[in-house]
Amino acid sequence: VRDCTVFAYSYPELVSRAEGESLVRRVNSLYGENATSQFTFTLGDPIRDGYTPRRAVQLADGVQRRASLQRGEFQYQYYANVRAQKSGMDGADGAYKVFVFLGRTRQLQDSMTPMDWLRDPSFVGFTGFQSSSTLNYGGYSGNPADGSGTQNANGVVALTKALEDRMAAGELSGLDEKMVGEYLNQEMSWRISTVGCLLLLWVKCMAGGQKLTMERFAGRRQVRAPRRCSGL
């Protein structure tokens, strides 16, 4: 059925198209690079003094999203892929989030408040997971009888815009895979937090990706456990 109006509904891609306007052109105008957001949102509560507002916060005022900074015949898109077992992580029975950062987390210091992380210039994005202990079956975690209790859940954090920002700031000379791979190896870090803001894990690799400093937190109590990452 090509004319869906017989079902008394339609789609924004289809209605009010100008004479001669192709469907591809309409889709690009709605969802392409120069598309404007159909809604706005405010990221968290008002920004405290001393914090640099992130671009996402500025965009909440309705500023049009800028076009990609990538020039040339091709562009690159990068994504951080996070996988976690549905059966949950050590100490993370329930929901938890993985926060991804690029560059020095200079405003975070030892903050254990995710709202502070969201405002740090190094913050890129987060993805959430719902997990449950395989011991108490507080939620679905697969059928242990068939071994599916170790099923993975997947999440994605888009990195491209953040990498373009670093390129604009002169921290990256380009976005090809070699440059970005080396940059991420040194500058990418992530934190894992429960919805109750209990910081579970903060991982940050030092120069060259050879040396790892890890800090674990239990509530407000901090336990430092530097380890090397070789062999893992």
Binding site: N28, A84, G208, R227, L232
Partner: protein, 55 residues
Amino acid sequence: VHPDDAAGFEIDVSYAKILPPTPDTFPEIQDGGFKHLMYATSGRAGGVSEGPKVG
């Protein structure tokens, strides 16, 4: 990081090379789709598969 600290957790990076859209064409993924970006998280926590070390 010891596996006990983040059992079952993995993070890595993928990328795609894309021919940008024009007003009358959609973006087109090149070279067969998304690929795993080596180096990006090598040697990191949570059972991340290690690629060749950088540096």
